[in-house]
């Protein structure tokens, strides 16, 4: 096992990784920009190295400085957290070239999954379901009709050269198809000077469901069930839960098996998440994240497994000590992202936290680098804390979330807490009846 790990990140995730290290008896090195000299991860780490000025490009993304920090501290491994360099294959290679272990997947898999088109092709070959569609531009209307019939309605006609919603038309029934094709082609021609269009399955109210995976260097691949991250705003997840209110045990087992067998074939290593859209009982691959995710604690809550610990063990070439049958989903967990931003406009709100008090009690976990007097710097992302609650069932979990939200004190900056206080009282949310557009529609309807 490693004696010392350098944590190449900041904020709550740096603290999260520090905690796992300390519980494994591993010394920690914090790196930080000049703006983060007083940050919690710096205060708690065994050693710290200032690696550059506030802008991330010159500090948390500054590979030479991070490598130099490994060299002067003698760190044997680097945990990249999420964001920053966590999905940078070149960084993983450079770390390895310097004789330091990168705690994460193999560079080739980071690279593969970073290329969204190549990733989709690769996972489809490995047996993971993707959004069905024409292989390329469709020809005649008759060709289009037979493709659409094969895919199943509704279908989406998209400009091959397109983007930004232009040249996109939905055909809900076969009789809608000719007009949709004509219109889409015309719009595509106007917008992109190219009237080729392709067809894919149109999902109206899909959920975002993702499967957490752990794979060790001995070929064992386990899944830890799914997370439902459908409550999003502008593709930013705000509320994540596990298990999904929309999945039953058989579906969970099936998609879990699909994913683990695919990643087993791929020879994947480490923690990873395969993200899907889910509608009408069908899964459609979106992308794979080859790193730890922000919302990993909900999976930890329902499985009791410390995912960061497993990442570190896997990187140290230790075998996963569990079998798939040992993974038992117990109760329900929800995470709310406490961002330093206006709860409805989502305008960032950096500044000094004049008072901070974490919620406590049974089933409540609070992961945050905030403290009373901490200054949320304006240079980085707005995630200031994560409230994770766990209950024996979804109702207990929701009630616990409600009381925990009413306990947190974060004064001096705006946060997303008031939004969650509303959401946890919304009927659709209580019923688990939501999809990836629900939150934006809700915010639009409630004057956000």
């Amino acid at each position: 096992m490693f004696e010392k790990i350098l944590i190449a990140n900041r904020g709550e995730i740096a603290l999260r990784i520090h905690r796992a290290c300390k519980e494994m008896g591993i010394a920690t090195v914090a790196i930080h920009s000049t703006a983060d000299a007083d940050a919690m991860h710096v205060r708690l780490a065994d050693e710290s190295v200032c690696i550059g000025p506030a802008p991330a490009a010159q500090s948390y993304l500054n590979v030479p400085q991070i490598i130099a920090a490994c060299e002067i501290t003698g760190a044997e491994a680097v945990h990249p957290g999420y964001g920053f360099l966590s999905e940078n294959a070149r960084f993983a290679e450079i770390v390895a070239d310097h004789g330091v272990t990168f705690i994460g997947p193999r560079p080739e898999h980071i690279r593969l999954m970073g290329d969204k088109i190549a990733a989709k092709q690769a996972v489809a070959q490995l047996g993971i379901p993707t959004v069905p569609g024409s292989e390329g531009a469709v020809g005649s209307d008759d060709d289009a009709a037979s493709i659409a019939a094969a895919i199943g309605y509704p279908v989406l006609i998209k400009a091959a050269a397109g983007g930004g919603g232009r040249g996109m038309k939905v055909a809900r029934r076969p009789e809608d198809l000719p007009l949709a094709l004509t219109t889409a082609r015309a719009e595509a021609k106007t917008a992109f000077a190219d009237d080729s269009v392709y067809i894919e399955k149109y999902l109206e109210r899909p959920r975002h469901i993702e499967v957490q995976v752990l794979a060790d260097s001995f070929g064992k691949v386990l899944h830890l069930g799914e997370r439902d991250c459908s409550l999003q705003r502008r593709n930013q997840k705000l509320w994540e839960e596990a298990p999904s209110p929309a999945l039953n045990a058989a579906q969970r087992e099936e998609i879990g098996h699909t994913v683990t067998s695919a990643l087993s074939k791929l020879g994947y290593l480490g923690a990873g998440t395969v993200e899907f859209l889910f509608e009408d009982g069908q899964f459609y691959f979106i992308e794979m994240n080859t790193r730890l995710q922000v919302e990993h604690p909900v999976t930890e809550a329902i499985t009791g497994i410390d995912i960061v610990r497993e990442q570190i063990r896997i990187a140290a070439a230790s075998p996963i000590e569990l079998e798939q049958s040992d993974i038992v989903i117990a109760g329900n967990a929800i995470e709310c992202r406490i961002n330093a931003e206006n709860p409805f406009s989502f305008q960032p709100s950096p500044g000094t936290i004049t008072q901070f008090h974490a919620p406590g009690g049974l089933g409540v976990r609070f992961d945050s680098a905030m403290y009373t007097g901490y200054r949320v710097p304006p240079y980085y992302d707005s995630l200031a804390g994560k409230l994770i609650v766990h209950g024996r069932n979804r109702n207990e979990c929701l009630m616990r979330l409600r009381r925990a939200l009413d306990e947190i004190v974060v004064a001096g900056i705006e946060t997303t807490i008031p939004l969650f206080q509303k959401l946890v009282r919304e009927t659709d949310v209580l019923n688990g009846d939501y999809h990836i557009h629900w939150l934006e529609q809700y915010l639009a309807a409630h004057g956000a």
Partner: protein, 172 residues
């Protein structure tokens, strides 16, 4: 705040005390002390001289002080948890003369082991002279004098690891 400032302030307090009724408030002194608190980042200042005493303070400190502070890279590990916070030892010095490290690495004071150092305290250097070398990722990076001056202080030891922004040397 250096001792000279303290003495001046104290002297002014004492003088003010004589000229005024028993309890004189030297608003200027307090304002100055408040500014000094800002400048120095102190929590409080207390001055007592010739029967006079002023103490000014800022509201309680901000960060969890009992959390053990990080070890800066050049300090020995502290044994006990619950220790008081350390000021980062990598804080940049104020003033034009300080030359701080532009990178993380290992500093060398001489071109090769056993050779004489690039500069010694008291040396006159000219703009462009090499003062030190910082090694990072197997590369030797010379630290060049940004202007002419006299070496007032060398703040590092040979082969010492250094952080970004850490003061290496002071020119007067």
């Amino acid at each position: 705040m250096n001792m000279k400032d303290v003495k001046q302030l104290g002297a002014r307090l004492a003088t003010g005390g004589k000229a005024k009724p028993p309890l004189a408030v030297d608003a200027g002194a307090i304002r100055e002390l408040a500014e000094l608190l800002d400048e120095t980042g102190l929590g409080e200042i207390e001055i007592e001289q010739g029967g006079c005493r002023i103490r000014v303070a800022r509201p309680a400190t901000t960060a969890p002080s009992a959390a053990h502070a990080p070890l800066s890279i050049m300090s020995e590990p502290l044994a006990a948890p619950g220790r008081a916070p350390l000021e980062s030892q990598a804080v940049k010095r104020d003033g034009d003369g300080a030359i701080s490290s532009p990178m993380v690495g290992t500093v060398y004071v001489a071109p090769e082991p056993g050779k004489p150092p690039f500069v010694k305290v008291g040396d006159t250097v000219r703009e462009g002279d090499t003062l030190l070398i910082v090694e990072a990722m197997k590369t030797m990076n010379p630290i060049i004098a940004p202007r002419s001056g006299i070496v007032k202080e060398i703040c590092v030891e040979d082969a010492q690891p250094i952080e970004f922004g850490q003061t290496l040397l002071v020119l007067s």
